[in-house]
Symmetry: C2
Subunit: 188 residues, 2 copies
DNA sequence: CAATTTATTTAACAAATGATAAAAAATGAA
DNA sequence: TTCATTTTTTATCATTTGTTAAATAAATTG
């Protein structure tokens, strides 16, 4: 649980008592490659932390699946809509390799938020951090070209590039696979 | 202060004591049309709530200003990067009409977060809500065409369409003004 | 290993959007 | 109002990206 424990500390450092309380609410699950952890059809009642493995969030469209997010060890799997508003979310999330996850239920988390100030502030910092990441994605999409976004991916997430097929990468970048292939060949 | 007071309640209902404490930290400012409330150059130490008026966030690029957000009464003016990470943000924010704002300083807010559980949870809900809005923007940009985004704007924010010039709208939609003009003429 | 499936690249054409320039319309100031 | 400025629309051409289909390469399975 070390990866996740570090991740939790990184978001907001909890006093030992609260940290322990928080961790005690987590439950380990081992999932096989291809498992759909979160389904767009359903309201999801857990937040998952990735201890080991890699995950992909995607939306089903008329033109097939389109990837909206990749997560590696230390990443958090959740549907914001599901978890914050109790609605079915936009996305489904699958693991692309056999993975080890730890999850905490919505109701446990709510209870902790309502009783423990440090944990409420942890939740706030968590939301703020995810907000910054989402804003970053938005800015990239709005202000950078597909080529630049691809180069950023090479630079900042080489692991993903190596472990994930290009069709998923292309839709993540907001372009077709053909277009990505053109970008790749232009770069040589 | 009624618009803002309602907005605060909408995010998360505070007990009367905390609500009053929270409100007591706000300060009213009246700003003239064209005032730059938040500058991309600086670290901004306030969050502003719009009681009356309309605002626009934009980034300076090599091709001129590009709008990233519009806010009306009840909206919140802040740079996430500035406020959450104490860094200069991406955007500058100006008011497009004479406006009435209420602001609370970063340090006051931090203090309230650290001492009052309900306010910490208010802050969490606020971040969660802004996260959902940002995610929505991202999804729109990624999954909908410029034409659809324009139609959504007509449907959901007719006020903005009426009060803001089309150049700003176009860059908000992520297209050129020429392209927006084409979309508008195709619709007749 | 060969056979089959899946993933990736390439090519040709269509559609959408950008860039630039000019015209038309709207706005604001004297 | 009239003139000057700003905003919006229109037109033309270049560029980018999408679409479809086929070819190549890689991975998987029996």
């Amino acid at each position: 649980m070390t990866v996740i424990s570090n991740k939790i500390d990184e978001i907001f450092l909890l006093p030992p008592t609260e940290k322990q309380l928080f961790l005690s609410r987590f439950e380990r699950i081992d999932v096989l490659k291809g498992t759909i952890v979160v389904s767009a059809e359903k309201i999801e009642r857990y937040v998952y932390f990735i201890e080991e493995g890699i995950a992909r969030a995607f939306r089903e469209t008329d033109k097939g699946q389109r990837t909206i997010w990749f997560g590696e060890a230390g990443g958090v799997i959740l549907s914001f809509l599901s978890f914050f508003k109790n609605q079915p979310g936009y996305e489904s999330i699958e693991v692309l390799e056999d993975s080890v996850l730890y999850r905490i239920s919505s109701s446990h988390l709510q209870e902790l938020y309502n009783l423990h100030l440090p944990i409420a502030n942890w939740g706030r910092k968590f939301a703020e951090q995810e907000l910054l990441l989402t804003e970053q994605r938005f800015m990239d999409l709005q202000f950078r070209t597909a080529t630049e976004r691809y180069e950023d991916l090479i630079k900042h997430s080489p692991t993903i590039l190596k472990r994930v097929q290009l069709g998923h990468i292309a839709s993540y970048l907001g372009i077709t696979q053909v277009s990505l292939s053109r970008i790749r060949s232009a770069k040589k």
